[in-house]
Amino acid sequence: MHPAFSVIFLTTLIGAGQGLFLALYTGQLYSLANLLPVQRDKFYAVGSLAAIALLIGGLVASVFHLGRPEKAWRAATQWRTSWLSREVIVLPATMALTFLYGLLHYLGWTDPLFVISETLPVDLTLIIGALATLATFLLFLCTAMIYASLRFIKAWYSPLTVANFLFLGVASGFMLAAAFSAYLGNNLVSFYGTWAVVATLLGAITRGFSLYRNTRFRCKVDLKSAIGVHHSDLHQKAQGFMGGSFNTREFFHGKSEGFLLMLRYGFLLMVFVLPVILIVLAYILESTRLPMAAFVIQYFGLLIERYHFFTEAKHPQNLYYQSMA
C-alpha cells in the first residue's frame, strides 16, 4: 500500500495522546493507593491539555486524508458495520472525556463524592477518568481494527495489529509523561519511565512477531485465480492504460527493498532500542533531558514504523498491475 501521511500522523499522534491520558490516570490511581506522592491538580490539567492537543493534531491530520472533509460528519452513521465509523464516534468521545477530566482538575472539583469501604474516596475526576480510560481503549481498538478487519490484506489481518497499536501508543504516551515529569522536575519520572519501558518491550514482542509473520506468509490468491487462466506461465502485457491510475498510485509504495530494510532497522532502533537505553541512562544519571529525547526519538521512530506498516501490506488488486509492456 502507498503510505498515507495523513493516516501516519493521525495514528501516531492520537496514540501518544491516548497513552499520555492513560499515564496521567494511572498516576492518579497510584497516588490514591498511596503508592505515589499526590500531584497537584495542575499537573493533571496541563497533562490533559497536552493529550487533547495531540488528539486534535491527529484529527486535523485525518482531515487531509478525506476527499470531501466537509461531509465528514456523515462518517458517524455506519457504526453498526464499519470500524472507521466507530473510530469517528469514539475519537471525539475520548477527546471530550479527556477534556472534562482535565477541566475538573483545573477547577479543583476533587472533593470526594462518596467513600467506598471507608478507604477509597471517589471524586468526579476518578469517575470521568474511568470513562475516559474506557474510551481510550475503545479508540485503540477501533483505530487498529480499521486495518485488522481487512481480510484481503493479510499483513494487517491479525490480532497483532491491535496489540501493536495499543502497546506502541501506550509506550509513547508514558514516554511523554516521563518527559513531562522530567520537565516539571517532579518525582514521577522513574514511575512513568518504567511503565514506558514495559510497554515498549511488550510492543517490541508483538511488532517483532508481526514483522516476522509478514515476511513469511504467502497470499491466498495468485494471478491464475485473479484472471481465471490456469497456466503456470502467465505474464501481463498491458494494464489497460499507458500512464498511471488510482490502482497504481494507491496500492504500490514504489520503494526499493534496500530502502525498506533501512526503514525497518531505523524504526526498530528508534522505537525500541534507543528510548529504553535513554530511559535507563536517565534513571542512572538522574537527567531531565534524556526522557524528553527518548520521547522525541520514539515518536519519530513511530512515524517510520507506521510508514513501514503501510509498505508491508500487499493488496491482492496488485496482481492485476504487475507489469506494463
Binding site: 458517524a76 472507521l84 469517528v88 484481503f152 488488486q317
Partner: protein, 241 residues
C-alpha cells in the same frame, strides 16, 4: 431477488477497448459523471475509468495464448466494500443487486478501495469521491428506452458480443445459461465475495480420436484391412462373385 450481472467471454474478446470508450462516453455525461481526466495530453496522463481491458499472455513463444481481460466492478453478492463504508455512501441496490456509490454521501476516504480485492474502485481526482462501474444504472432502469437498449453501454458496444448482460438469479437468463453451460467462473473465488459477474474461459473445439477408432475392427467386408495377397497371386476362391 434479481442480481444483474455481466458475463464476459474471454474466448471471444479481441481486446478492442470499445467497451472502455463506450463506458466512458456514456457515463461521463450521465448520472455517474463526470469521469475526469488529468494531463490527458501530457506526459503522464491519467483519469477515471470504470472499465479497463488488460492483456495477458500465457506460455512462451511460439506456444502462447493471448488473453484480453476486461476488468470492472464485479457487483459481488457479498460485497466487502459496502459494510466498511463509514457514511453509507456505498450500497448494494436491493431490487437489482447493483453495487453503487452515493456521491452526495461519499467523503472520499478510500477505505472501500482498500477493502475491494479486485481494485474495482477509483478515486475521481476532480470530484474527490469514489467511483466505480454502475452497470449503467441510469440506462438499464430507464423505462423510456426500448428494451433492447436497456443494457450497459459496454454490452451494446462490444463488436464480438463478448459481453452478456442479464439476471444471474434467473436460471433461464442468457447469463445464467452461459455460466452454466459454457463453464463460467468467478474471479478470486477464495475470498467468498461471490462476484455476480462471471467470465467464460477459452474453449477449444477438439474431438478425441483414438487409433482404434480409425479402423473398424469388426468390419465384415474387411474393406479397410485388405488381406495381403497370398503367395502366387489370387485364386478363384479369393474372389467373391
Amino acid at each position: 431477488m434479481t442480481q444483474l450481472a455481466l458475463v464476459i467471454d474471454l474466448n471471444v474478446c479481441v481486446g478492442c477497448h470499445a467497451c472502455v470508450t463506450s463506458c466512458k462516453e456514456w457515463n461521463t455525461s450521465g448520472w455517474a459523471g463526470p469521469m475526469t481526466d488529468q494531463r490527458a495530453y501530457d506526459e503522464d496522463p491519467t483519469g477515471t475509468f470504470f472499465n479497463r481491458v488488460q492483456t495477458y499472455e500465457a506460455g512462451v513463444f511460439p506456444h502462447t495464448e493471448t488473453y484480453h481481460f476486461p476488468k470492472s466492478c464485479l457487483h459481488c453478492e457479498d460485497p466487502p466494500c459496502v459494510p466498511v463504508c463509514p457514511t453509507g455512501a456505498s450500497y448494494k441496490r436491493e431490487d437489482n443487486g447493483v453495487v453503487l456509490v452515493d456521491y452526495d454521501k461519499c467523503i472520499g476516504c478510500k477505505y472501500c478501495s482498500w477493502a475491494c480485492p479486485y481494485g474495482a474502485r477509483e478515486m475521481d481526482e476532480k470530484q474527490r469521491v469514489m467511483k466505480k462501474c454502475t452497470l449503467c444504472i441510469d440506462r438499464i432502469t430507464d423505462m423510456t428506452l426500448p428494451e433492447s437498449q436497456r443494457k450497459p453501454a459496454c454490452v451494446l458496444a462490444c463488436p464480438t458480443s463478448a459481453r452478456l448482460f442479464g439476471d444471474a438469479h434467473d436460471p433461464n437468463s442468457v447469463v445464467s445459461i452461459a455460466i452454466r453451460e459454457e463453464g463460467g467462473y468467478a474471479l478470486q473465488p477464495e475470498w467468498g465475495t461471490k462476484p455476480a459477474n462471471h467470465y467464460l474461459p477459452r474453449r477449444k473445439t477438439r474431438i478425441q480420436i483414438h487409433e482404434d477408432e480409425l479402423v473398424r475392427a469388426d468390419n465384415p467386408l474387411k474393406k479397410e484391412q485388405l488381406p495381403s495377397l497370398p503367395e502366387g497371386g489370387e485364386t478363384l476362391d479369393d474372389v467373391a462373385w
